[in-house]
Amino acid sequence: MTSLILHTGTRAVFHTIMLLSVYLLFAGHNAPGGGFIGGLIGGAAMVLLYLAAGADGLRRVVRVEPVRILGAGVLFAVLTGVVAVLFGEAFLSSGLLELSVPLIGEVYISSVLAFDVGVYLVVVGLVLQVLSALGPEGGRVS
């Protein structure tokens, strides 16, 4: 049931949506957004791709098993907490990195960004997992 319009349209917007989702992930600390919202938008992009290009098309773009993305997400989040412990802080307490970048000025990078990346990965992984489970191969009625 692939339609040419959907297919072409998706090719046009897919990267923009992914960019938006990553932007929201990074902007989330100070503006609306964050790992959960960014992940949902990334997931929506995956759904769009799935509808336009089917399971095979999705697999061509995302070659990693969804389970691995899920695992990587949790690992990221846990490791953020462990890093805090290595610095003698309590598990998951946040740290701040101050950088002066030429032309941009002072930039603060909070360690929670890494935690948010973990959340992002888990949400995207969940959507991919659901798609691969409920898609044609997953629950095919013969």
Binding site: H29, L70, G88, F91, L96, V122, L126, L134, G138
Partner: protein, 782 residues
């Protein structure tokens, strides 16, 4: 440094599968670096610790709830650590020779073995009850992986599962006991509790019994001993390690630590000593009729563990000292004996003592190592085992506890008789020439030197310490003092003059020899005896009945009807908190219906969509309307000024809509209509009840606030503390990051659950289709 040592074990355990790719079976030598490093460190630290210092390291990993990881290395800890890491190093060297052919799963095995060694090391270093429990469970889990290494054999899997279930159940009891003890003593620090034990109370009794349950299951005490013989399914390096320095010694370790502080509690001594002596007798008796020499040794371990349990359980200074000597001696000779069994098994391809014959000539070095270690096990001079046994006899002769001390002594002497007899049976069975009766394995060959070396080293140590016991005086005395501050110290000697203890040793040797010589008659007698209640049958029956009960329970609770599930959940919600809501006085005042006109419009839209869902006949329409409800609520969030919430709501609604569509393709287009109006009315009633409840609940919770809202504080702290302007995000990833971590783990579990459910349905369908095809084919053939 103690943390670093545990870290080295953990790192190598994780890296082992990768290392195995490039190192092959040499991965054992690489992983063996962790225990080797630990042994070296403990040796370096030993002068200071023996002088009375105790290394302590601590780090607070959740200070807000008072959880910290404390490690402590005192005299007894040093003794145990040297055994765990020292024997561990030899085990890795032995494993390298044992797995002479490369296998693809060696990396996993080496990893589990390293993790196991690290867990055991952590267990004996832990100075916090919770941490101790964590390592305790870690040894259970890693030993499960090790015992079940040959996972294609049902026998291995069953044995691993039995070990896990038994020690796991004991672990649960231990957790309960640890928590009760920690709450009673108001501290979870092991050294603080032992230095100032809480006064005797009913609660303390409960805690101690639970902790002892944990120790008894782990150390294979009757009636929980049945998992240990089964664990023989493990590769021999694991058995050698499990039986000598680790796992089964964990329970002994726990009792040794607790006994001096709690031996005064009335139930402690009788309970522990009785269980220990009974176990010693059962183990020795069963060992006498085994024909598999590895199994014979396993029952021997059970017997020795009972002996140790009785010694430590008695809790007098002398008995604790005897326990420490015995513990050390046992670790040396039992590791050596298991290693030799592995060598025999490897080279002769059998462990059956009816088939083995003449191994003495095939592998003389292994034979001599086994002979020396056996002599130590049997308690013959001039070996360490003899000194240990003499000390133990003296401790029980001296008494210092109840009148039953003589009974316990009699039990231990009887146990020693059995020990001598089964040791003789082992040495004879494994190595002797048996004339025409034994069949000499034709293809047995001489083992390589590296394979036998670890056993020779351990047996040699037993002999050296037996001949020159003064080498051990300091270590064993300091270890005893660490356990029992009342210990005055003594020196070890082979010859104590002619006394009662020597007489008892003579009895043990004499009667043991008689039992061995008359072995044929003993065997007939044993086999004729009606088997008493077999503990293993009890285990099987328990497991079977628990599974059966769970099945019945599931049958009742899980009817499989979604409407019934939903009704039960929602009705519970309406009835339980609902009643409290309605009867609450004073009832909250009704707020104005809408704050802005826009809210009214959106609310009307949501209500209209909700009503339409109920009327809808097609699933497709209902799902779309459900989306409308969700978007309406999202818009309400927007005009309330909550962009994050609204964005999330919209995105989730969109995704749910698509996923619903994917599911709908597999469902009939229209809802099945219930003909009976009674059911429709009932459902309507439930739905209305839930709606009314949620409405009332929202009203009440809004009005019931007694403390100021935390949101102001979150807002005020958001930028200064977390450097974020988006307070919603800061709460999610910083203030309440642990909650978020829990939530994403739930997401992962849900994802795995979805995949498994779909996969299960798919394979079920495929099975049905195959059956149908087969039926068609059969029909065609007819």
């Amino acid at each position: 440094m103690l943390f670093a040592l545990l870290g080295a074990h953990a790192a190598l355990a994780v890296a082992a599968p990768l290392l195995a790719r490039s190192f092959g079976r040499r991965v054992f030598l690489v992983c063996g670096l962790a225990p080797l490093l630990a042994t070296a460190w403990f040796a370096v630290r030993s002068p200071a610790v023996l002088a009375g210092d105790a290394d302590a390291e601590s780090f607070a990993w959740a200070p807000t709830i008072g959880l910290s990881a404390d490690l402590r290395l005192d005299g007894f800890g040093l003794l145990m650590a040297l055994l765990v890491s020292g024997i561990g190093t030899l085990i890795f060297a032995y494993a390298y020779a044992y797995f002479s052919k490369p296998r693809p799963d060696l990396g996993k095995f080496a990893g589990a073995l390293t993790a196991f060694a690290g867990s055991m090391l952590g267990l004996i270093l832990a100075d916090n009850l919770i941490l101790l429990f964590v390592f305790w469970e870690a040894t259970s889990i890693t030993s499960y992986l090790l015992i079940g290494f040959d996972d294609r054999k049902a026998e291995s899997r069953d044995a691993a599962l039995q070990a896990l279930l038994t020690t796991g159940a004991g672990g649960l009891a231990l957790l309960g006991g640890v928590v009760v003890l920690g709450q009673t003593a108001d501290t979870y620090s092991l050294s603080a509790i032992l230095a100032a034990p809480p006064p005797h109370s009913g609660l303390l009794d409960v805690a101690l019994v639970l902790i002892l349950l944990g120790a008894f299951t782990k150390s294979a005490q009757a009636p929980f001993h049945t998992w240990l013989p089964g664990a023989m399914a493990a590769p021999t390096p694991v058995s050698a390690y499990l039986h000598s320095a680790t796992m089964v010694k964990a329970g002994i370790y726990l009792v040794a630590r607790f006994s001096p502080a709690f031996a005064d509690v009335p139930l402690w001594q009788p309970l522990v000593v009785t269980v220990g002596v009974v176990t010693m007798l059962i183990g020795g008796f069963r060992a006498l009729r085994q024909t598999d020499i590895k199994l014979l040794l396993a029952f021997g371990t059970i017997s020795q563990l009972g002996f140790l349990m009785a010694l430590f359980g008695a809790g007098t200074p002398k008995a604790v000292f005897a326990g420490v000597v015995m513990l050390f001696a046992h670790a040396l000779f039992k590791a050596a004996l298991f290693m030799v069994v592995g060598v025999v098994d490897h080279e002769a391809h059998t462990r059956d003592l009816r088939e083995l014959s003449g191994m003495r000539r095939v592998m003389p070095v292994a034979f001599w190592a086994a002979a020396i270690a056996s002599a130590s096990m049997a308690g013959l001079p001039p070996l360490l085992g003899f000194i240990a046994k003499e000390t133990a006899f003296e401790a029980f002769i001296q008494g210092g506890f109840g009148a039953y001390a003589w009974l316990a002594l009699a039990g231990i002497v009887a146990g020693s008789v059995l020990t001598f007899a089964y040791t003789a049976r082992f040495t004879w069975g494994g190595f002797a020439f048996k004339g025409e009766r034994g069949v000499e394995p034709a293809d047995a060959h001489r083992p390589p030197a590296a394979f036998v070396a670890p056993a020779v080293l351990l047996a040699g140590l037993g002999a050296m310490f037996g001949l020159v016991p003064v080498l051990l005086d300091r270590l064993l005395n300091v270890a005893t003092t660490a356990l029992h501050p009342g210990w005055e110290g003594t020196y070890l000697a082979l010859w104590h003059g002619v006394n009662l203890a020597l007489g008892l040793s003579a009895i043990a040797v004499g009667a043991g020899t008689l039992l061995f010589v008359a072995r044929a008659r003993v065997e007939t007698w044993q086999s004729r005896m009606p088997s008493m209640v077999a503990a293993n049958d009890v285990y099987r029956a328990t497991v079977r009945n628990v599974l059966l009960g769970a099945k019945r329970m599931t049958g009742v609770v899980q009817s499989g009807s979604l409407p019934i599930y939903l009704s039960i959940i929602t009705l519970t919600l309406v009835v339980l908190p609902g009643v409290a809501l309605v009867t609450r006085t004073p009832q909250p005042p009704l707020p104005p219906l809408t704050a802005t006109p826009m809210q009214g419009v959106l609310a009307a839209m949501v209500i209209a969509a909700a009503v339409a869902i109920v009327m809808a006949g097609r699933r497709f329409v209902a799902v779309l309307l459900l989306g409308a409800v969700g978007y309406g609520v999202g818009l309400l969030f927007v005009i309330q000024g909550a962009p994050d919430l609204a964005l999330t709501q919209f995105l989730v609604e969109t995704l749910i809509l698509v996923i619903f569509m994917l599911v709908l393709r597999h469902l009939p287009a229209r809802f099945t209509q219930r003909r009976l109006p009674f059911y429709r009315a009932l459902r309507g009633l439930v739905a209305l009840g839930v709606g009314a409840f949620v409405f009332l609940f929202a009203l009440t919770t809004g009005a019931a606030r007694t403390a100021p809202s935390v949101s102001q504080e979150h807002l005020a702290r958001s930028y200064p503390e977390a450097h974020g302007n988006n307070v919603v995000n800061v709460i999610l990833v910083d203030f309440r990051a642990l909650d978020t971590l829990g939530e994403i783990v739930v997401l992962v579990v849900a994802a795995i659950g979805i995949a498994s459910l779909v996969m299960a349905v798919r394979s079920e369908r495929e099975r049905q289709r195959r059956d149908a095809d087969a039926a068609v084919e059969q029909g065609a053939r007819r």
